[in-house]
Symmetry: C2
Subunit: 200 residues, 2 copies
């Protein structure tokens, strides 16, 4: 009887946003309905558009609106370098350093046994085919320096090495336990420059 159901639904729906609890969701819903209906309208439209337009690049997995993303199609990038990251956000972070001009492969995840994600769930055969295509000279592993990211890096290294692919890892300039998304561009650029060959 107290809150209209459409307002209740909106408050509930806003909680799908990361970091938004019941109190924030209530504030957001009332703010939108009271002060920013135009913003709410734009947001609804943008969500619909993104859901319709965005898909995964068939080469690197990142978000794109075409079959192959503009970065993979670019002739200005060095195709002999392939950088492996966990998520599209991590890829963006590396791009913002302006310290890398090779291509990317986005895992869209990490090896995480506790969540039931093993190497099989990451569809690594596509990465393997890419790394062995004769164009790639070096695979740079830029997964996070968390336990899962390290496990993923270790697994990738073993897998690629056994096929004779040259593998490196971004330097441990990234704070241990930290995630790429929260590191400043300078530190990240350094870590990229100081990448080291992985010991066998």
């Amino acid at each position: 009887m107290t809150t209209p159901s459409s307002l209740d639904s909106l408050i509930e729906a806003l909680r799908c946003l990361p970091g938004v609890g019941p109190k924030s969701a209530q504030r957001m819903a009332y703010h939108l309905m009271q002060h920013d209906r135009a913003g709410a309208h734009r947001l609804a439209g943008s969500l619909q558009l993104a859901l319709t337009a965005l898909r995964h690049c068939q080469r690197c997995n990142t978000f794109t609106e075409s079959d192959i993303c503009s970065r993979c199609l670019s002739t200005k990038r060095d195709p002999s370098l392939l950088c492996v990251v966990e998520t599209p956000v991590d890829m963006n972070m590396l791009e913002q350093t302006h310290a890398y001009s090779g291509l990317y492969y986005v895992l869209m995840g990490r090896v995480s046994p506790l969540d039931g994600i093993g190497p099989a769930e990451l569809h690594l055969e596509r990465l393997l085919a890419r790394a062995c295509d004769g164009v790639v000279r070096e695979v740079i592993i830029a997964t996070n320096y968390t336990n899962e990211g390290e496990a993923t890096a270790h697994y990738l290294c073993e897998m690629l090495r056994s096929r004779g692919v040259s593998v490196s890892r971004i330097a441990r300039g990234v704070p241990v336990g930290g995630e790429l998304e929260y590191v400043d561009a300078g530190t990240l650029a350094q870590a990229l420059r100081e990448r080291r060959p992985l010991a066998g």
Copy 2:
């Protein structure tokens, strides 16, 4: 060239949410597209529905899906008490104390000269007509204890007093400078119980 335009638009659109800056908006957008497309779909639908369904109650101004909200229509509320609040959220906060069973009038704003909101912009003639309808015995002013809320309370008191309406103010149990939305229900219930007649 780097981020697809629909993703850029979504990040930009998310910034209409209060407290969401560029970094949070980016995290939210990627999270939705990567991990919670169902949630994004629900959110878009809820926004559309709320924009279509929600309007203002013709009696108290709060959000409702009908002409008159269920609270104004209820026969269980005491129509001789009229509580004036700034926003629908403030009304909800008072309801959650279960210490009040009268009716409400939501100003949908406050007197705020710096923002160009004077008494005229708040359409107080409707509140005045309501307070003088012969049913209301007491108007309880529950605007925030901020400068603007106090100025609003002062103005309302003068206006209602001059028409012979009995006016009270919720007790200053609410921290000075604080806003109703962030006060615990116990403090708020106390402030409601200890309301005092306004000195002339």
